[in-house]
């Protein structure tokens, strides 16, 4: 049933923090397997949008349907179906890489095999027994990717996934969280050009309001820079 409905369906979505509107009247539809790139300067509401889509923040107005689940009412239906890669790796620093991953694997009903598979995929098999607090930022991000993918999510929410990665890691993770993953993806990026290449649809936010919502082919440089102009 849910495959017949789009992956994302937002109607006049709004969210405030206290008195300040961080998302205003956002309407868009994203089909399964497509990639939405969210662009905008710092504080434009990119991360807030991702948090709303993940069910971590309740929308204040409008409607949001994510993977067929109406937010915030059916938030529970989303649990375990979203892969989240944000600024924080969401890993316990005192536990080892494999302890963290097998903790998440078991929550998803998966075993050691899945952990090994993902460790291999992100190139961290050699560091499985290293405590997370000893990892570099780039390695943390690799483990965070493994953590996010362990439950085979249907929707990937990527908040500047490449911010901490060196080019080698970027290449290694590309098949997992890049276009080739064939997952439905929502990503934010500081690099508009790279985001345009990846996206099927581009959303430009400024002060939480959508200034831009169209396929990347029709977007020219001027309108992109209007997003970032002071």
């Amino acid at each position: 049933m849910e495959s017949s409905s789009p992956a994302l369906e937002l109607r006049a979505l709004g969210r405030r923090f206290g008195e300040r509107a961080v998302l205003r009247s956002l309407t868009l539809t994203l089909e399964h397997g497509q990639t939405l790139a969210v662009l905008g300067s710092n504080g434009a509401g990119k991360t807030t949008l991702l948090r709303v889509l993940a069910g971590l923040l309740a929308p204040h107005s409008g409607r949001a349907r994510v993977l067929g689940a109406e937010l915030p009412r059916e938030r529970e239906l989303l649990r375990g179906r979203i892969g989240w890669i944000g600024h924080e790796p969401l890993l316990y620093r005192a536990l080892t890489v494999s302890e963290n991953l097998s903790f998440h694997a078991r929550l998803h009903g998966q075993g050691r095999r899945r952990v090994a598979e993902l460790l291999e995929a992100v190139g961290m098999s050699a560091r499985a027994k290293t405590p997370v607090r000893e990892l570099s930022r780039g390695m943390l991000q690799r483990v965070a990717v493994a953590r996010a993918l362990i439950g085979s999510p249907q929707l990937l929410l990527l908040d500047e996934p490449e911010a901490n990665l060196d080019p080698g890691a970027r290449e290694a993770l590309e098949p997992l969280i890049g276009r080739d993953s064939r997952c439905t993806r929502v990503l934010t990026s500081h690099d508009p050009q790279a985001a345009l290449e990846e996206a099927d649809l581009v959303l430009g936010l400024r002060d939480g309001a959508p200034l831009l919502l169209e396929p990347p082919a029709s977007i020219d440089r001027d309108r992109l820079s209007a997003l970032y102009s002071p």
């Binding site: 890993l91 929550l107 998803h108 499985a128």
Partner: protein
């Protein structure tokens, strides 16, 4: 992990990484066990709670010895000293209970994973209960050795039953309060301020139950039960049950956002 044969990994992993999940998400009780396992593993790794609690309890006994200027305690004084010490030691663990989750993204990770709120409550309360039981395993002999006027062994069952029921109340209320204050400024201060009044009935119940057992001529089990013991165990049990239900009903509201 390392026990896996090499050739299991040699199959192209990337193709299978995004395959639909084969496993079935575990039930709530199983999830609670997984969470409890993680909790205990973290405590074993960091040793942030239990050793501190035990050391605190030992110091408190020494302080009581000097502050009260007594070599040996008995009756309600002994029961009071023991309970105050356990209560204050518990506050140390309660303050730390959710810190790792709040600071290292555990809350978000759990909100994204298929984890029901009740399982988080159960796992945290069970972890706290285990910390308290381990603490008592260490502190009770020390208390008997340092401060108690007569041997504890005669009253062991009554003492253990009282401690267990009291510990459950501390664990349940502690988990609820700890989650309540974790996102506020000054949580280190607010936690104890909220905890202590909520636990005064537990102190009343537990010390009332214990004091005849620690008196010079301790009654045997059946006469203790029929005199006051049973009544106070029932009061503690009901208090556990009531706060367990309240915490279960309210806990999900503390995990949102």
């Amino acid at each position: 992990m390392s026990t896996l044969p090499e050739n299991a990994l040699s199959a192209p992993p990337r193709a299978s990484v995004h395959q639909p999940a084969s496993g079935r998400p575990p039930g709530a009780a199983r999830v609670a066990l997984i969470l409890l396992g993680k909790e205990l593993r973290l405590e074993l790794r960091t040793l942030e709670s239990v050793p501190g609690m035990a050391l605190f309890a030992l110091s408190a006994f020494v302080i009581f010895h000097f502050a009260l200027n007594r070599a040996a305690l008995q009756g309600d004084l002994a029961a009071g000293v023991l309970w105050v010490t356990i209560l204050l030691a518990a506050l140390l663990a309660i303050n730390r209970l959710f810190v790792a989750d709040a600071q290292q993204g555990g809350f978000e990770a759990l909100a994204l994973a298929p984890v029901p709120p009740g399982a988080i409550l159960a796992a945290k309360a069970a972890a706290l209960l285990i910390y308290l039981l381990v603490l008592e395993l260490l502190a009770l002999p020390a208390f008997a050795l340092l401060l108690l006027a007569q041997p504890l062994a005669a009253a062991a069952f009554g003492v253990l039953a009282t401690l267990l029921l009291g510990d459950i109340a501390i664990a349940v209320i502690g988990t609820l309060v700890s989650a309540l204050v974790i996102r506020s400024r000054a949580r280190d201060l607010l936690g104890p301020l909220l905890m202590l009044p909520l636990l005064i009935p537990v102190v009343i119940g537990a010390t009332s139950a214990l004091s005849p057992l620690l008196a010079p001529h301790a009654p045997d089990l059946s006469s203790w039960l029929s005199a006051t013991g049973l009544r106070w165990l029932a009061v503690l049990g009901l208090y556990d049950l009531l706060f367990g239900l309240i915490a279960y009903a309210l806990f999900e509201f503390l995990l949102e956002d």
